[in-house]
């Protein structure tokens, strides 16, 4: 009944259909229907999922037998939350574009990308993983390059080349690992079982690490990100930040660390230091940004830095924090960018100094924006708190100073987020703000869902934590990092 491959292919069918649709209204409906259908089809997996450490709903079909490549997919507690995140966010992202005129091709690319993302999160074969990794990249390249801002060509090309060179390193590592497998295949389990010496693991570490660090992005591999977020159309920014960057974090947990634990023992500290530098560094940069998109872009670097630190510290709290925070970050960053989209569309500018006093004329937007910000800065009883609390608790195991520097995020985050809120929402209502239209219709629906998730997960995080609990504990047991 639960056919995982079908779930993966459904968005592609939608994309094929959409490629021929010219009318914007029809395209939107088809895209929404397919994305909601995909989400609906995810539910049975969630229901049937047994929250233990095993891989479930596995499908293993020989693909290129002569090279030992299999179409091998499956779900476990680590991939399922990300599959839910992907399939949950795509409909919201599509809904968020309902205020614009977009052709079928735009949505076709989005759905095509969704399949790539799902492949990444479900692949149990390294080659398939790599294929998904690139399938996800190409559509977003076109989305940004075709629908982006003034500097889109230069910025998008840089983004593409940068991330692509990272993935080439990873490809080399994957091929090398393949040559080491006695039975000559790309199976995840075969890679796990490899008995690599320490020196090899160091090389493997760097090859994977650079690819994932660029994707997330981690300091100092992040400079493509603010420019790309700024230039991309809003839906593209949401896909990049809400879902795509989780590919990098997921890659760390699923591939890098279990395959090269000795490499991690060697360089994990360095990675953690980079992540924590990124938290403080990006937060401080965010202080002075006037462009709302760029501000959120830097805040995202800070948040992802904390997630990466929680992964590299490699304990149950840190990893569980990373798992739940990946979901939380997706929710809050989409909310934030959607607010920016709504506000900047009406102001014709993303610059904060042109705004102010919107709260008075748009109380609904003021409330949801505040709740989203509170989630982002980790106020208790919002989802962000659960994630930050667990992450910081995990990071604390690496030493109190690590936790202090990583913990600065709760202070610095409040500074730039509340500054943004004040700049946009509070203060005097200027002329442009005076005619601001409050959110309604599909906008309200998107925000209602996001707010419900923010508060719901914050008050009762147990079900979500429970999904990944066994898989994470098992992983931490199996893979020992010698810090």
């Amino acid at each position: 009944m639960n056919n995982l491959a079908l779930l993966l292919l459904l968005p592609v069918f939608g994309a094929l259909l959409l490629a021929f649709v010219k009318k914007s209204g029809t395209a939107k409906s088809i895209a929404l229907i397919f994305s909601v259908l995909t989400l609906a089809l995810t539910v049975p997996f969630l229901v049937a999922f047994i929250p233990d450490a095993s891989k479930q709903f596995e499908q293993n079909i020989p693909w290129i037998p002569s090279l030992g490549i299999h179409f091998h997919i499956g779900l476990d507690g680590i991939s399922l939350p990300l599959v839910i995140l992907t399939n949950g966010l795509v409909p919201l992202i599509i809904l968020s574009t309902f205020g614009q005129q977009q052709k079928g091709g735009f949505y076709a690319l989005m759905l095509f990308m969704q399949t790539g993302l799902l492949l990444v999160f479900t692949a149990l074969d390294a080659f398939l993983f790599y294929v998904g990794w690139e399938i996800a990249l190409i559509p977003i390249y076109f989305i940004c390059g075709l629908w982006g801002g003034v500097n889109r060509i230069r910025v998008t090309l840089k983004f593409f080349i940068y991330t692509f060179s990272g993935s080439l390193l990873m490809l080399i590592a994957i091929i090398y690992l393949y040559t080491q497998v006695p039975t000559a295949n790309y199976e995840l389990t075969s890679f796990y079982e490899l008995d690599l010496d320490e020196k090899t693991q160091r090389y493997i570490f760097w090859a994977f690490f650079v690819a994932f660090a660029i994707k997330m992005p981690l300091f100092p591999f992040h400079t493509w990100q603010p420019d790309t977020y700024v230039e991309a159309p809003m839906a593209g920014t949401m896909l990049l930040s809400g879902i795509m960057l989780k590919m990098g974090v997921y890659g760390l947990i699923r591939w890098l660390i279990p395959i090269a634990p000795l490499g991690v023992s060697q360089y994990g500290h360095l990675a953690m230091i980079l992540a924590i530098i990124g938290i403080v560094y990006a937060s401080i940069i965010a202080f002075q940004q006037q462009d709302l998109k760029r501000l959120i872009a830097y805040s995202s670097i800070a948040h992802v830095g904390l997630i990466a630190a929680g992964v590299f510290v490699w304990n149950v709290q840190g990893l569980q924090g990373a798992m739940i925070q990946m979901v939380n970050h997706g929710i809050s960053v989409i909310g934030l960018f959607f607010v920016v989209e709504i506000v900047s569309r009406q102001f014709g500018s993303r610059e904060m100094q042109h705004m102010g006093g919107i709260a008075k004329v748009a109380p609904r937007l003021a409330i949801v924006f505040l709740i989203i910000i509170l989630g982002a800065i980790g106020l208790p009883l919002t989802n962000g708190f659960i994630g930050e609390f667990l992450l910081l608790m995990g990071v604390y195991q690496a030493g109190i100073w690590t936790a202090i520097f990583a913990g600065l995020t709760i202070i610095l985050g409040a500074v730039y987020m509340l500054r943004m809120y004040q700049g946009v929402m509070l203060g005097d209502t200027n002329q442009k703000a005076g005619i601001f239209r409050d959110i309604a219709g599909s906008e309200l629906l998107v925000f209602a869902i996001l707010v419900a998730l923010i508060v719901g997960i914050g008050v009762y995080p147990k079900p979500l934590l429970h999904l990944s609990e066994a898989a994470v504990s098992n992983l931490v047991e199996q893979v020992k990092i010698g810090y």
């Binding site: 401080i284 940069i285 940004q289 709290q317 208790p380 608790m393 913990g407 709760i410």
Partner: protein, 638 residues
């Protein structure tokens, strides 16, 4: 005890109803919902209190818990949403819901003409909800939910009139400064969990009691908890947000920034008292910081002309006394002062609100004067509040402050001396406020004078209740030297049980106590007379803002330039650093390097392209070279 959850839920329900219906419901309904839910919580709290009281009477420890659900389960970390009521939290419950109710009642009239009436009540209810979580939490994490939640409500209410940019900034400042403390709290939580394997008070505190005095881990935990307390309870160096918080509506100042939220830091330390007792160094730090804050804030209050600013600095100063009390081991005394301070400071703020209300939103005392006839109830109650805070017997403040000072004397006579000087300041600036406001000539505009009127009963009734409490509050814990039975101390005894044996409180003889009490009472009265001579007999009115002030007066008037100092050493450098990181490091250095790599690649592409120009000679040339290299390679290897 299954009623505990409802104590918490009623205000949340009120928040939801008023929040959703803020534009639809009529003001009377909003008032009924807002006040009614708090009254319900108050009545349930009375029930909880009487259960605890009865249990204490029969000699039990009287500690009841209710677990609502398992909140976070990760690995060996188990955090449940659960509540604890014991003598300590039972008293806090009464303060929060009781005074909270009075202030809700007061607000129905005070906020009557405000467009954000529904919003105001929903925020106020939300505040009570979080404050109750803070008080009732049976572990550090639930307490932390409330701790941060009240910070959020404080943010919302300080920035209630957010169209004023300075108000919005004050709100942000309060939130950020509190968050600095909150990081300390979080780190303390991690350290507590690492050390004791749990976060429940009932598991942590007994284990902590097993450790020896001066334990390094305990020192760190207590230091971090104290940092948390300096944020929420406005102590040096994190106190500057509280005076700015006066931007909020006055009932908010009374409830949040005087009576309840700001005492959370004291509550936290009292709750964890055993850990502090075992860390004498932290205790000493607390005493010194508390004393310094008490003096510094009192010094600033001497010259302030905004009636709410005087009360704000007075609050900071009184909180300093409470920390002094904690630092010298007078836990009961400090908590006693929390209670009495809640009475008279809520009273004073609400009284100030009544004055401001009557004076058409005038807050500058230089524009007031001679209001005692026109606002008789406000005057009488504020007079009581002033006498109480000044420490003049037999009102409430005398007993609680005296208990702190007596312990300070036993600990270090210098502390007593400095605390005594602070008390002199307190008596002076409070009577200065009273006389400038209610005596002398009326100095406001003609319109203001015509408009001045006593507030309606819903505002004066809370004043009268609080005035009564300020008068009799002292009987809660009358010292033995005055023939009292120390009722509060007996009631709270289980909370301090483990600490009691470890505290070597220097016992003062009754005669010493009489002398100390007499000295402070006489001195306070003396300062009142001095203030009377200055501001009533001589009719002195503080100078206008632009006039030059000399020496100390200038320092006090400009709040010791601490905001300017923070701006210069923290805010400005951070902003410069931000620009530096963005422009120089990010754009020029890191991205410059990335771009250079890219350019290098495309440049080398151009070079390599030169090699492929269709000239067969070149190809042959390179082929030969290649073969030679390969051969050479093979030869060397073999």
């Amino acid at each position: 005890m299954n009623s505990l959850i409802w104590i918490v839920l009623f205000p949340l329900i009120g928040f939801a109803i008023n929040g959703i219906g803020r534009n639809v419901l009529s003001k009377p309904i909003i008032s009924i919902v807002g006040c009614g839910t708090i009254l319900a919580s108050f009545l349930l709290s009375c029930g909880a209190f009487s259960t605890v009281y009865a249990a204490r009477k029969s000699g039990e420890i009287a500690s009841f818990t209710q677990t609502v659900f398992e909140w976070i389960n990760v690995g060996n970390l188990h955090i449940s949403l659960s509540f604890l009521v014991d003598p300590l939290s039972a008293i806090m419950l009464l303060i929060v819901t009781g005074i909270g109710f009075l202030i809700h009642l007061y607000s129905t009239a005070y906020m009557k003409h405000d467009a954000g009436f529904g919003k105001f009540f929903s925020y106020l209810n939300l505040f009570i909800f979080f404050m109750l979580l803070l008080v009732l939490g049976s572990n550090y994490v639930v307490m932390f939910i409330g701790w941060e939640g009240v910070g959020l409500c404080s943010y919302l209410l300080i920035g209630f009139w957010y169209h004023r940019v300075d108000y919005a900034s004050a709100a942000k400042k309060a939130f950020v400064m509190n968050r600095i403390g909150d990081l300390g709290f979080l780190l303390a939580i991690f350290l507590i969990f690492n050390t004791f394997g749990s976060l429940e008070f009932s598991a942590v505190l007994p284990k902590a009691a097993q450790l020896e005095v001066g334990n390094a881990t305990l020192f760190l935990i207590t230091l971090l908890l104290f940092i948390a307390a300096t944020g929420k309870s406005a102590q040096i160096p994190l106190f500057t947000w509280l005076p700015d918080a006066m931007a909020g509506p006055t009932p908010v100042s009374a409830l949040i920034h005087a009576a309840t939220m700001v005492t959370a830091g004291i509550y936290l330390i009292v709750r964890s008292n055993i850990m502090f007792v075992l860390s004498p160094v932290t205790m000493e730090i607390i005493a010194i910081v508390g004393l310094a804050t008490a003096l510094l804030a009192a010094f600033i209050a001497l010259t302030q002309n905004d009636i709410k600013k005087v009360l704000a600095y007075s609050t900071v100063s009184q909180l300093g006394y409470m920390f002094l009390g904690l630092g010298v081991g007078a836990f009961t005394g400090a908590f006693f002062h929390v209670i009495t301070h809640a009475f008279f400071k809520a009273l004073l703020f609400l009284g100030a609100g009544s004055v401001i209300h009557a004076m058409s939103n005038e807050q500058d005392m230089r524009m007031m004067g001679n209001l005692k006839k026109k606002l008789p109830i406000t005057f009488a109650t504020m007079f009581i509040g002033t006498v109480a805070i000044a420490g003049i017997p037999p009102l409430a403040g005398f007993f609680s402050k005296d208990e702190i000072l007596a312990h300070a004397f036993g600990h270090n006579q210098l502390y007593w001396m400095l605390g005594f000087i602070g008390a002199l300041f307190t008596a002076f600036y409070m009577f200065r406020m009273l006389f400038l406001t209610f005596y002398g000539n009326f100095r406001g505009t003609y319109e203001q004078e015509k408009h001045v009127h006593e507030s309606p009963i819903s505002m004066t009734l809370p004043l009268m209740v609080l005035a009564a409490l300020s008068i009799i509050g002292g009987i809660l814990n009358v010292p033995q030297a005055l023939g009292g039975t120390m009722g509060l101390a007996t009631f709270l005894q289980p909370v301090f049980d483990a600490s009691a044996s470890k505290l070597s409180a220097a016992h003062l003889s009754h005669s010493t106590e009489y002398i100390l009490m007499g000295a402070s009472a006489i001195a306070a009265i003396g300062m009142a007379i001095y203030a009377y001579i200055t501001y009533v007999s001589k009719g002195v009115v503080p100078a206008a803002d632009h006039e030059n002030r000399g020496g100390l007066t200038r320092l006090s008037y400009h709040k010791l330039y601490i905001d300017e100092l923070y701006d210069a050493i923290i805010v400005k450098p951070l902003n410069i650093l931000s620009s530096f990181f963005f422009k120089i490091i990010d754009k020029k250095t890191i991205d410059g390097f990335v771009n250079a790599l890219g350019q290098g690649a495309s440049q080398s592409g151009k070079l390599i392209r030169l090699l492929q120009q269709g000239n067969v000679g070149y190809y042959i040339f390179f082929m030969v070279i290649g073969v030679i290299v390969l051969l050479a390679y093979g030869l060397f290897i073999i």
